[in-house]
Structures are given as C-alpha cells and as structure tokens.
Amino acid sequence: MRPLLFLAVLVALAAAGTAAASEEQPTLAELEQEVICPTCHTTLALSSSPIADRMRAFISGRIAAGDTKSEIKSKLVDQFGESVLAAPPKKGFNLLVWLLPLVAVAVAAVVIGLLARRWSRARAPAAADPSSNGRAALDPDLERRLDEELARFDA
C-alpha cells in the first residue's frame, strides 16, 4: 500500500509542477488549444482565418513579453469576451459547469448505493433464517403436505 501512496504523491507533485510551469511559461501550442477563434468557433489550432492568425501573433507577442497564461487569457477575454475561452473560467456562474458533473456523479453513486442496499435487504431475511440452512423457508402448508407425502412413502 505504501509504495502506491508514494507513487500517487509523486505523480500529483509532478502534475502540479507541470501546471505551474505551464502557467508561468506558456507556449503558443498550449494556448492554441485553449482559445477559440471568434469567427470559426473552433480552437485556434484548427483555424487559419485572418483573426486566428492575428490572435496567434498577439499571443506570441505576449509570451515574448513574459506574460503568464492567465494574463494572456485575461487580455483576450477583454477583447473578445469569455466566449474566446475553450473552457469556461472556474468562477461565478461558470462554476456550475465544473461542479454539476461532479454533483451528478455523487448523486448517481448515492442512488446506486441506496438501491444496492435495498436489494441486499430484500434477500437478507431468507439468508438470515437459521432453520432453512441458508435456503428460503418453505411455506408451512407446503411443508406439512411434504411431511405427509414422506410419511406415506415410508409406510
């Protein structure tokens, strides 16, 4: 268990380091995936429209000037609005877009858990009856008739 935990911590630290480096020293290729061309509504990476070329030149200029990824995105949002971002920012109303899937997964897990519990309870009484040896108990009337048949057979 411990090596696994150690590995998980290492992976998390490496991911955090990469994210921090990407924030401080973004590349054009990264931002091309995260910014939308306002005329063709695809990412910059997929667009060759004049405004996409202009946006690429702007981003390259800001990277050369030492802007962080957040600063560059913020400047693009100032110019083109939030729709220029491929993923909505994690704040305000947009936070719903990030949180709703998690809430949906949590609700689904709870519902599945409740259903599983209900199904297991429905089977439990039969399993819990010590006289049935792990099998469902017979109907008393059926048991009486069976005893009578066995007695007749023995006789």
């Binding site: 004049p50 405004i51 110019q79 083109f80 729709s83 519902v111 409740l114 209900r118």
Partner: protein
C-alpha cells in the same frame, strides 16, 4: 428506498431534464431570431431594429440605437482584418460627409477585433463617424450576421428598411438606402 425519496429523486431528474431542454430551446430561439430578422428585411418588411448600447472605440462614451431615434442610421458591421471592409471604408466616410447635416448618422460596429487594430484602421482610413466596439458579439446574434462586413439601414422610427448588404457597399447603394431610411427622395 422510501417512496417519498424516490418521488423526490424522480422530480429532480425531470426538473434537470426540463431545465436543459429549456436552455436548448432558448439558444435555438435566439439563433433563429437573428436569422429571421434578416429574412424579414430581405422580404421587404420593416421590423424593429434590435437596440444596442455599446462603448465607443476609445471607451470614453457609449451610443445606444434608441438615442438615435429620429435620424436615419447606417449600421456597418466590420473588422480591421476583413479585406472588403477596407474597400468600403472610404465609401462609408464619404457618405457620412455627404449626409451628416441631414439627420443621417453612420455607425460603425467593430466586431471580433483587437482595439488597437480597430483604432489603427480608423486612423488609416480617416473615419470620423462614430465607431463602437461590440466585444461580446451581442449584435452578431441579434442581427443574424453571416460575416463581415454587413450594412443595414434603420429609418427614423427605428425600423430596419431597404436592402441589407453582405459584403462591401458602394456609394450608389448607400445613397439610395439612406433616402429610403429618411422616408424621402431628397
């Protein structure tokens, strides 16, 4: 699971689905609204022009369409990177100079552009008519624009009249439609 909880969960699920369908319907309605507007203008109707209130290019003030009621308005949607916009810019400035003393105003609405590029464009072509910046692209959807440039005409009552031009507009078309927007043959 209790019956009450089951009903509550089902109600929640129905509510979420209804909300998503409503959002989808609203988006479809908004998209069609702009396209329908263009169709009505092309059919010769005079629908009310969607109102806007946008900042000017320098961010020092704003202009709303309703504040221009009583004037004929030439609405020109443009961007600095668009080739045909460069071709028609001198025509629009010339029309503004010809008509500005007769209750006509030319309004440029800059879309999908950088402020600096738009200002450079305005300086280069010596545009003196009001130029507004639509950063969020609000007018794009409301007017059902298909590309840039586009030019529309608003009459003195705030209704869209005449022709709607997709692509560069020339002096003759401008004059003809401005007269129509003024409601005269002056």
């Amino acid at each position: 699971m209790g019956r009450g909880l089951k009903i509550a969960l089902q109600a929640c699920a129905v509510l979420v689905v209804a909300l998503l369908v409503a959002l989808l319907g609203w988006q479809v309605f908004r998209t069609n609204e702009g396209r329908e507007l263009a169709g009505r203008v092309d059919a010769g109707e005079a629908p009310p022009a969607p109102v806007f209130d946008l900042e000017d290019l320098d961010g020092e003030g704003s202009v709303s369409l309703s504040s221009l009621r009583g004037k004929a308005v030439v609405l020109n949607f443009w961007a600095s990177w668009c080739g045909p916009c460069k071709d028609e810019a001198p025509e629009l400035e010339a029309a503004w100079q010809r008509w500005r003393d007769r209750d006509v105003v030319v309004v440029g609405i800059n879309l999908q552009d950088f402020d600096t590029d738009a200002r450079r464009f305005v300086d280069r072509y010596g545009l003196t008519y009001p130029v507004l910046q639509d950063r969020e692209g609000w007018t794009w959807g409301r007017y059902g624009l298909k590309g840039l440039p586009e030019t529309w005409f608003v009459n003195t009552e705030g209704r869209l009249v005449g022709e709607r031009f997709e692509g560069p507009v020339n002096a003759e078309d401008l004059d003809e439609n401005i007269r129509l927007a003024l409601g005269s043959e002056a």
